[in-house]
């Protein structure tokens, strides 16, 4: 169990607000923080990592107090067992993949190192230097390095946002696998709905420093009260005009679904938008495979 209570006055570009959160996270839970930029998501991760001070704070991780401002306890970052992955990979350029991962380990444990390389399919790259790797591979190494510390919490700050769609989709599966296999407790910052739906047990929606909604992704996001019983969420990947109508391709999981729409409906739709596709329970065919 992780307990996080934080109060901190934040000044943004033209806003001022108080970050004020009080959340409990269960062991092995996958949590996503969602919200507009400037809502305080990254600040929460930085406070957890001990990189940003607070006005008031209490953080307890697995019965160990990391922060208690009332009792003047504040563990430095290196004493907090955390794996942190940022949007940019921040690998050591002069070290090989294997050395980069090894560097993060408290004590040498070749067996664990091998199991990470194996699970993350990095074995064949272990002697490469980072500049020889693709963006996706670099981010894999960054995640492997974060796991190598056997962290109590894995913090992922929009780790996939710099990757292309294809790599991102594969990576989501990868993160899901790692989270399970290494029994991690993970906190992800993300704007990507397919990512949130695929990975999170719970999502916290942050606005101006406060949590305004929380719960399972489907309960938090699909609240438009439509009587239709078939509802899917996805992302628009293509809008094409055909005759007098438009055909919109929507990526749902790994499938592409095509939906017909009229001109008026596509006015405020763009490629990349997250959408709900709904139809009535009476319409779909069901065919045994």
């Amino acid at each position: 169990m992780i307990e996080i209570k934080i109060k901190k006055h934040l000044t943004g570009q033209d806003t001022e607000f108080e970050l004020n959160i009080d959340i409990h996270i269960k062991d092995k839970e996958f949590i996503t923080l969602f919200g507009k930029s400037g809502a305080g998501k990254t600040t929460i991760l930085r406070i957890l990592a001990g990189l940003t001070p607070v006005d008031y704070g209490f953080i307890k991780v697995k019965e160990k107090i990391w922060l208690d401002t009332e009792r003047n306890i504040n563990l430095p970052p290196q004493k907090r067992n955390i794996g942190f992955v940022f949007q940019d990979y921040a690998l050591f350029p002069n070290m090989t993949v294997e050395e980069n991962i090894k560097f993060a380990m408290d004590k040498q444990n070749q067996e664990f190192l091998d199991s990470i390389l194996e699970t993350m399919q990095l074995k064949h790259l272990k002697h490469q230097k980072p500049d020889k790797l693709s963006g996706g591979q670099k981010q894999k190494v960054a995640i492997a390095r974060a796991i190598a510390r056997k962290p109590d919490i894995l913090l992922l700050d929009e780790p996939l946002s710099a990757l292309d769609l294809d790599t991102r989709l594969k990576f989501q599966e990868e993160i899901k696998k790692i989270h399970k296999e290494f029994q991690l407790t993970t906190i992800l910052v993300s704007h990507d709905f397919s990512e949130i739906f695929k990975l999170s047990d719970r999502v916290f929606v942050l606005s101006n420093g406060k949590i305004i909604k929380s719960g399972k992704p489907e309960d938090v996001f699909i609240q438009e009260k439509l009587s239709g019983k078939v509802k899917l969420t996805g992302q628009i990947i293509k809008i094409e005009k055909e005759d007098i109508v438009y055909v919109i391709s929507v990526l749902i999981g790994n499938n592409i679904i095509k939906v017909v729409a009229v001109e008026e409906e596509i006015k405020d739709l763009n490629v990349g938008d997250n959408v709900i596709i709904a139809t009535k329970a009476f319409n779909p065919f069901i065919i045994k495979m």
Binding site: S227, D243, I244, V245, V262, K280, A281, F282, N283
Partner: protein, 131 residues
């Protein structure tokens, strides 16, 4: 998507299935839905009635019987003809309704702007949404 506002006037339920009547400017539109736990589906509540353009059929000089319950007497305002599909924009009460039918059918009915027609929508093609 056609989206009209109305008030729920009746809900008939059998097990998991309900037929909801919605009053729109003193006419009724029927929707059949599965599950009726949604709180907004109560008599007197204002709701949106939704149906897709492609589910609106058109009849001209209609005679005889047909099973469809939702029949709206409309006047054609505009016709946008495509190669295969034709969009028909109609006036019904104070609302505009759109239909998309095949161009072949539009020609067979020799639809013109200003024509009085009946628009049919199947009950199971009508969805309801909370306002």
């Amino acid at each position: 998507m056609n989206k009209l506002k109305g008030f729920i006037s009746k809900v008939s339920t059998s097990g998991n299935i309900s037929i909801v009547e919605v009053n729109i400017q003193s006419e009724k539109i029927f929707s059949i839905i599965i599950g009726n736990k949604e709180e907004f589906l109560k008599i007197g509540n204002e709701v949106y009635v939704l149906f897709k353009e492609t589910e609106v059929s058109i009849a001209k000089d209609f005679k005889g019987e047909i099973s469809l319950q939702n029949r709206l007497n409309c006047k054609i305002l505009k016709i946008n003809k495509g190669k295969l599909l034709t969009e028909i924009i109609m006036q019904w009460k104070n609302e505009k309704i759109k239909s998309i039918i095949t161009t072949k059918s539009a020609e067979r009915l020799s639809l013109r702007e200003g024509d009085n027609i009946t628009a049919f929508i199947k009950t199971n093609e009508v969805s309801l949404m909370e306002i």
